[in-house]
């Protein structure tokens, strides 16, 4: 959760209204929602329960989960107002997260 918290904290209140952060995971919505409340993040959590979207994006880490299940490859994408990819970070090691400052720089550069 550290990456979500980091990015949420780095955004100012004004920026939270000017940019939409959409967090995609196979996680059931109730738990994500609960977490968002607890961390007070300006996020929209969406559930990709069967990884259909993750697969369409080519971001499935096959059998990468703790119980051998498929999980998403941790990825952060900045899209401009036209939905065009402007910045992309894909993890090569699940300990790594994008630096929130770098993500913000990409958002501010739009």
């Amino acid at each position: 959760m550290a990456e979500l918290q980091g990015l949420g904290a780095a955004l100012s209140e004004a920026e939270k209204t000017g940019v939409e952060i959409v967090a995609v995971s196979p996680d059931p919505n109730a738990r994500s929602h609960e977490m968002a409340q607890r961390l007070r993040l300006g996020y929209r959590f969406v559930a990709d329960s069967d990884l259909t979207v993750t697969r369409r994006y080519g971001l499935v880490h096959t059998r990468g989960g703790a119980h051998g299940e498929d999980v998403p490859t941790p990825t952060t994408v900045v899209l401009d107002r036209d939905g065009v990819v402007r910045w992309l970070w894909i993890s090569s090691n699940f300990q790594l997260r994008p630096n929130p400052d770098e993500v913000l720089r990409a958002v501010r550069a739009l």
């Binding site: 929209r44 969406v46 559930a47 990709d48 979207v53 994006y57 990825t75 065009v84």
Partner: protein
């Protein structure tokens, strides 16, 4: 330096590394350099090895055993278990991201299309609750 001091230093490096990593995980520079803890355990193991070379005493062997175990566990975790194979993503900088329609926490549908022309979107794929 004497064997005892080297052994103590080795154990201290191990303990400090674990504590620092746990406490500073939120700091991007720390989090994104996991090879740092592997290097610290390697240093601790080297010092403990020197301690054993100077005097084959129980404390030197203990420090060596501890630091080698941490080095092995840390290196295996960082270089093998935590590694993610390269994703064959369809995303390209400068190209349109594929649209989707997924339910949010309130059961409301969220799509990329609804933000088009309005707001930039930061899309975060994460592994779930852990």
């Amino acid at each position: 330096m004497r064997s005892g001091s080297l052994a103590v230093l080795s154990v201290l490096i191990c303990a400090t590394t674990i504590a620092a990593y746990a406490l500073l995980l939120r700091v991007p520079t720390v989090r994104n350099h996991p090879e740092g803890y592997v290097a610290a355990f390697a240093l601790a193991a080297t010092l403990a090895g020197l301690a054993v070379a100077l005097a084959r005493r129980w404390y030197a062997w203990t420090a060596l055993g501890l630091s080698l175990a941490l080095l092995l566990a840390g290196a295996t975790f960082n270089f093998v278990l935590a590694r993610i194979p390269e994703a064959h993503t369809t995303l390209r900088v400068g190209e349109q991201a594929p649209d989707f329609n997924l339910p949010d926490a309130g059961g409301q549908a969220v799509s990329l299309a609804e933000h088009r022309g309005k707001k930039p979107v930061v899309l975060v794929f994460y592994r779930g609750y852990w």
